[in-house]
């Protein structure tokens, strides 16, 4: 896990990149890679690559980056892990490749030399990398199918820049901070900034599952190489009998856990009292891990109450012979860390606070790598959205397609019952948005709804942002081809929007701020491929039950039972106490259930409640 960056002065008119910029961007990512740093310049000095290293596989200096191929033609900077690199290495050696290191980075160089851009289809893992070709004078970039690892790019028409973080690109001091209305609007709609946009017009994300070339005319349009909907559609065409599902889940999860344990350092786990992390801990033992250190985040004010996850997590630890570390968090620590959290938050997000503290605990324990159960809910139908979205489609979909009806109803109710309208803005949206999967999903996940935007931000930014973002079209496009079942459709929507733009991004910045690599075995394209034909047949609760039964010694029953009611976290109340009196100024306070998230979103966007330097969001 690392931080990567680079500058390519591709245009014949452009000047050589400045070393001070390369290093400023690179070293803004010091926390991503505290174990070493490197820089590489092409002989004509028009391409420069930077790298900060967190050593996990092949800890020697030989594996430092940027890494050059033996013939000197290709140079790579890489952030991530290639879990199938031992197999790839064996294959490559059979074909005559010679290796100088035992790192997965070197595999990328050999694969690219042999297969070019097609190499990405062979990789299993989380990755964002760039390879410079000295002969063709072009840069190749790629990002993993789920978008676990970030990669941001900027092109000013002469010079192309990339880095693992938005704030690192800004630290280079060559890019403007002009706001991107689509990013600002997207953040208000979803609570995170939807790729490929960022908060800044000059900076974009390379979309997940895409590759991109940069040649003499600059960056070419990114090309997709993987598609979750397509994989699930194929699965739906060959759906398996329900009876086979538990065995398939067991085999696929164990296979993924085995792959994700590849490391030359200790691998720990984030353990809650839920099914996902508990089952993964059980599978870690099945994969041969003994005495795994498991970190549980618990809250001082819940100590001794039924809301405390720690006792049940401790039982799971005992069950699988793991060593338990309980980290108690208090409101005071939360408040103290808040400025650092907002500083580490690469792009605004309404979540990620819990991941920050559990990562902090892992770092305190001396861990560099942990397994996380992130992705279980998206894969196995764990969220309420898996029931709600299809139900809303069935109940309200037919009415919602009547043109103007939703708008009429919303306007009417807004006039005759304004209190209801403010208290339940989403209920009003049912008739307007349930006509499509995209609309119903937006309604389920939306922080604010499109019609509310002019109340919370500059109406001109709202209008322009909606035009540039086209949220419904963008959500709808992710469902092509049709994944073939209700569960698969919601699985795709949750995976490529909420999980990608929010959960995975939060795991990246919150983990990296503590120099911690968070591995997510339930977010794995190979695993999804193995389960694609099972997903359409999973009924409510059956997915999690199958996961709980995946370890040879299944999870204790009470975990599955308790998980259904869920655990509370006090961070919402803490946030409320912090932002409640905050002097944020845009618009009025919408009254609704998601009130805290909504106010928190404003505080985050304005640089946090504790700072005095608001981000200027205005029409440009």
């Amino acid at each position: 896990m690392c931080g990567i960056n680079g500058i390519v002065a591709y245009h014949s008119a452009s000047s050589e990149p400045e070393e001070v910029e390369l290093l400023a961007t690179r070293d803004a990512m010091r926390a991503r890679g505290p174990d070493g740093s490197g820089a590489w310049w092409s002989p004509d000095r028009h391409c420069a690559l930077g790298h900060r290293r967190l050593s996990i596989i092949d800890l020697s200096d030989r594996a430092s980056q940027p890494m050059t191929s033996e013939d000197g033609r290709f140079v790579v900077v890489f952030n991530g892990e290639i879990y199938n690199y031992p197999q790839l290495r064996t294959e490559l050696e059979t074909e005559g490749a010679r290796f100088r290191t035992t790192s997965d980075t070197e595999v990328l160089l050999h694969l690219y030399a042999r297969h070019g851009a097609e190499m990405v289809h062979r990789l299993r893992g989380m990755f964002a990398f760039a390879i410079w070709d000295q002969v063709q004078h072009c840069l190749f970039l790629a990002r993993d199918p789920y978008g676990i690892k970030p990669l941001y790019t900027a092109n000013d028409g002469w010079t192309f820049r990339f880095a693992s973080q938005v704030k690192a690109l800004l630290a280079g001091r060559h890019l403007s901070r002009d706001p991107e209305p689509a990013g600002v609007v997207g953040f208000h709609l979803f609570g995170s900034v939807p790729e490929p946009f960022t908060l800044y017009r000059d900076i974009r994300s390379l979309p997940a599952g895409h590759t991109q070339f940069v040649d003499a005319a600059g960056p070419r349009e990114p090309k997709p190489f993987s598609n979750l909907s397509e994989l699930l559609a194929k699965g739906a065409a060959n759906a398996v009998p329900v009876a086979e599902i538990p065995e398939r889940v067991r085999a696929a999860v164990l296979d993924s856990i085995r792959a994700h344990l590849l490391a030359d350092v200790e691998v720990g786990i984030f353990l809650s009292a839920g099914v996902d992390s508990g089952a993964l801990l059980g599978c870690m033992r099945d994969a041969g891990q003994r005495g795994v250190r498991a970190i549980t985040l618990a809250f001082e004010e819940f100590r001794g109450t039924s809301e405390d996850e720690a006792p049940l997590a401790a039982r799971v630890c005992d069950h699988y012979g793991a060593r338990h570390i309980v980290r108690r968090l208090s409101q005071q620590e939360f408040v103290e860390d808040l400025p650092a959290i907002l500083d580490a938050m690469d792009q605004p997000s309404i979540d990620g606070v819990n991941t920050w503290f559990v990562s902090k605990a892992a770092k305190e324990a001396g861990l560099k790598v942990v397994i996380s159960g992130l992705g279980g809910d998206e894969l196995l139908g764990g969220y309420p959205s898996f029931a709600d979205v299809p139900r809303w489609r069935r109940r309200f979909g037919a009415l919602a397609v009547v043109p103007g009806l939703g708008l009429f109803a919303r306007t009417l109710i807004g006039r005759v019952a304004p209190a209801f309208s403010h208290a339940r803005p989403k209920a009003l949206g049912l008739l307007e948005h349930s006509g499509t999967w995209a609309g119903a999903y937006l309604l389920r996940r939306g922080l604010f709804l499109p019609n509310e935007l002019p109340e919370v931000m500059d109406p001109e930014i709202a209008r322009e942002g909606m035009r540039r973002l086209r949220p419904l079209r963008c959500l709808g496009a992710s469902l092509k081809p049709d994944p073939g079942s209700d569960l698969a459709r919601v699985c795709v929507l949750e995976s490529v929007h909420y999980m990608r733009n929010q959960l995975l991004r939060d795991a990246d910045w919150a983990g990296m701020a503590h120099s911690l690599e968070i591995r997510v075995p339930l977010v794995d394209f190979t695993l999804l491929g193995a389960l694609a034909s099972s997903i359409p047949a999973i009924t409510k609760g059956a997915g999690k039950a199958a996961l709980a039964a995946a370890p040879i010694t299944p999870l204790p029953n009470e975990v599955l039972t308790r998980a259904k009611s869920g655990f509370a976290v006090p961070t919402g109340a803490w946030i409320n106490s912090v932002v409640g009196d905050a002097p944020w100024s845009i618009g009025h306070k919408p009254e609704s259930k998601g009130n805290v998230s909504r106010r928190w979103s404003q505080a985050v966007l304005n640089g946090g409640p504790l700072t005095k330097r608001p981000l200027e969001v205005h029409a440009s």
């Binding site: 014949s12 008119a13 000013d156 028409g157 002469w158 017009r201 000059d202 974009r204 040649d215 600059g218």
Partner: protein
């Protein structure tokens, strides 16, 4: 042999035309036709001059009227093969987009300077968003287009202006003698004096002269170009008591222009509205150092300060004094550096690279 793809170019002016946009269009078409990449038909709005057509490019009769122009463009498109539509000015973008759609052709829209900076009409914006490529002369213009157009940034490329090969460094002393400026420190601005735009910055240079003279520089400011703002600038020079030091030379022929560039000590154009600022390049290709404000397209022409000098407006007087006091840089080194970045070869290379995106 397969015929090369056909481009229909809708432009304000190109051959037999005057000014920077006409020059850019000619450079662009010639770069394409030299390699036989495309067969090009040009439909101009204006073509006031009587000569100057190359053999390889067909230019149709100019149609100044808006309706007549649109009819001619549609008729031409109807009866010919059109694979690529080149739109040389944003205000023609809706017409160009329509023809591209009718013919199933690729659409290239060219953006120069101030016409592309503010948000255009909705119909022009929609047409721009349909383009397969938007070519911009500078990074600034590109950023401006991206601020109002919802278009993939990878389709918006920079193809900067180029400098003609006639501008070369040489001894300017004969021209200095002819102009009677021997022994003086000669400042030069080349550009239109437009009373509506007033952005070239002549005023700022005139205002700096008393300060420079006070510092001991025997200044002569030569102003080349026409325009209806001249009388105001002349009055300004009178009011500042420096009318004897400001020479308005009007429009000059190409050969005179070449020699005037060589005769100057410093080319200075503190403009705030350059799409690119090709005259900076012409000066530097003639071996004369150039000074501008770090604003808009001038940053590109002066290569962020690597080729010429960029200053903030408040520093202009001091910067002129500093540059006049410093030894003049080696003219052939400066000319070669300007040509390396913006010469014909590099221009052609960036045109091919851009076109390569379409083919």
């Amino acid at each position: 042999m397969k015929p090369s793809p056909a481009m229909l170019a809708l432009v304000t002016d190109a051959y037999r035309g005057r000014g920077g946009i006409a020059q850019y269009n000619r450079d662009f078409f010639e770069a394409l036709s030299e390699e036989g990449l495309l067969s090009i038909t040009v439909l101009p709005r204006q073509a006031p001059d009587s000569s100057g057509m190359p053999e390889t490019i067909e230019q149709l009769q100019a149609r100044p009227g808006r309706i007549a122009y649109s009819v001619a463009a549609l008729r031409t498109a109807l009866f010919r093969t059109v694979d690529v539509v080149f739109c040389g000015h944003l205000f023609m973008a809706p017409l160009a987009a329509l023809i591209a759609r009718l013919k199933g052709a690729k659409l290239i829209i060219q953006a120069h300077g101030i016409e592309a900076w503010p948000r255009p009409s909705r119909i022009q914006r929609t047409a721009t968003e349909r383009a397969d490529l938007v070519l911009c002369v500078s990074r600034y213009t590109r950023a401006a287009v991206l601020s109002w157009a919802a278009i993939a940034p990878d389709r918006v490329l920079v193809v900067p202006n180029t400098v003609r090969e006639v501008f070369t460094p040489a001894d300017g002393s004969a021209q200095r003698a002819a102009l009677g400026v021997e022994g003086k420190r000669v400042l030069l601005t080349v550009g239109r004096m437009d009373s509506r735009e007033c952005y070239k910055g002549h005023d700022r240079v005139i205002a700096a002269i008393p300060h420079l003279v006070a510092k001991g520089h025997d200044i002569c400011y030569m102003v080349v170009g026409e325009g209806d703002d001249r009388a105001r600038l002349e009055a300004l020079a009178r009011d500042a008591g420096v009318s004897g030091r400001v020479r308005f030379l009007g429009a000059v022929g190409l050969q005179s222009l070449i020699e005037i560039y060589r005769a100057a000590d410093l080319f200075v154009m503190p403009s705030t509205g350059e799409g690119f600022g090709v005259t900076f390049l012409e000066a530097m290709a003639s071996g004369t150092p150039a000074l501008g404000l770090g604003v808009a397209g001038a940053r590109d022409a002066l290569a962020d300060g690597h080729l010429g000098t960029l200053v903030a407006e408040d520093d202009l007087q001091d910067a002129i004094a500093r540059l006049l006091a410093a030894p003049k840089p080696d003219s052939s080194t400066l000319a070669a550096a300007a040509r390396t970045r913006f010469g014909r070869e590099t221009f052609a290379a960036s045109v091919y690279a851009a076109l390569n995106r379409l083919m």
